[in-house]
């Protein structure tokens, strides 16, 4: 039984690896894949996908599956962690400009 395991973003960085191939007889679900591939407890807010689709940790896996682990997504428009400072600035700009 062979499962390709991929890691993205901060998960990839923390583990120091982007991909492993698991020769994993007895691996039943996504939770097992994480445990076998990393040997670590699951971080809070970890997400998973099986064959390019979002999946829960109880999702069964089969030979040949690609399983991916990653943090919550942050696509689309920019969002800075310094959000509050930013909002204040934007408001100031708004008032200063001759809209």
């Amino acid at each position: 039984m062979s499962i390709t395991v991929r890691f993205f973003a901060s998960v990839r960085e923390r583990l120091g690896k982007a991909e492993v191939v698991l020769n994993a007889a007895g691996v039943r679900d996504v939770a097992d894949v994480w445990a076998r591939a990393t040997g670590e407890p699951r971080p809070a807010r970890l997400l998973a996908a099986v064959n390019l689709e979002h999946a829960g940790f109880d999702r069964p896996v089969r030979d040949g599956d690609e399983v991916a682990f990653f943090p919550p997504v942050t696509g689309g428009q920019t969002t800075f962690t310094t959000e509050n400072t930013e909002d204040t600035e934007a408001k100031e700009d708004n008032e200063k400009r001759p809209l």
Binding site: V73, T74, Q77, T78, T81, T82
Partner: protein, 144 residues
């Protein structure tokens, strides 16, 4: 419908124009085009300029974007949908994402466009890493 992930800067207006030209069958059918462009902001004036690197999950990204557009087309009466999303390293003021929706009427155009934009926050596998004066860090997701 078209979804595309690109690691090169893009001009949203040129992309809309050329998509429209490639789809002459839309002419006269749509009364409403709703568009959203997300752009990289500066953290602050002057020195504290930030750069951003966007990582994604090739294959899954396109699949999720397509699913989102199909979902919008099932839920609202729209004619077409175009999504472009940048990946790689971005400079401030560069477009990150373009969502354009064509519909006969304004309400479904607005609703579908916003639906696709919100999906980018919750289900499409993009991750941002920003560089500021104090170093690099992964951007935290917004609270829902």
């Amino acid at each position: 419908m078209k979804v595309q992930v690109t690691d090169a800067p893009f001009d949203p207006w040129r992309e809309i124009e050329s998509y429209r030209r490639e789809h002459p069958e839309l002419a006269g059918k749509y009364g409403a085009t709703a568009i959203f462009v997300g752009t990289l902001r500066e953290l602050s004036h002057g020195a504290q300029v930030s750069t951003m690197t966007l990582e994604h999950y090739p294959g899954m990204t396109e699949r999720e974007l397509e699913a989102t557009c199909r979902e919008a087309a099932g839920r609202w009466d729209i004619l077409d949908c175009l999504v472009l999303h940048r990946v790689g390293k971005l400079a401030p003021d560069e477009p990150i994402v373009l969502v354009a929706v064509w519909a006969a009427h304004r309400a479904p155009a607005f609703d579908a466009c916003r639906h696709v934009v919100e999906a980018l926050k919750s289900r499409v596998p993009f991750w941002k890493r920003e560089r500021t004066a104090s170093g690099e860090r992964w951007v935290e997701p917004e609270s829902p």
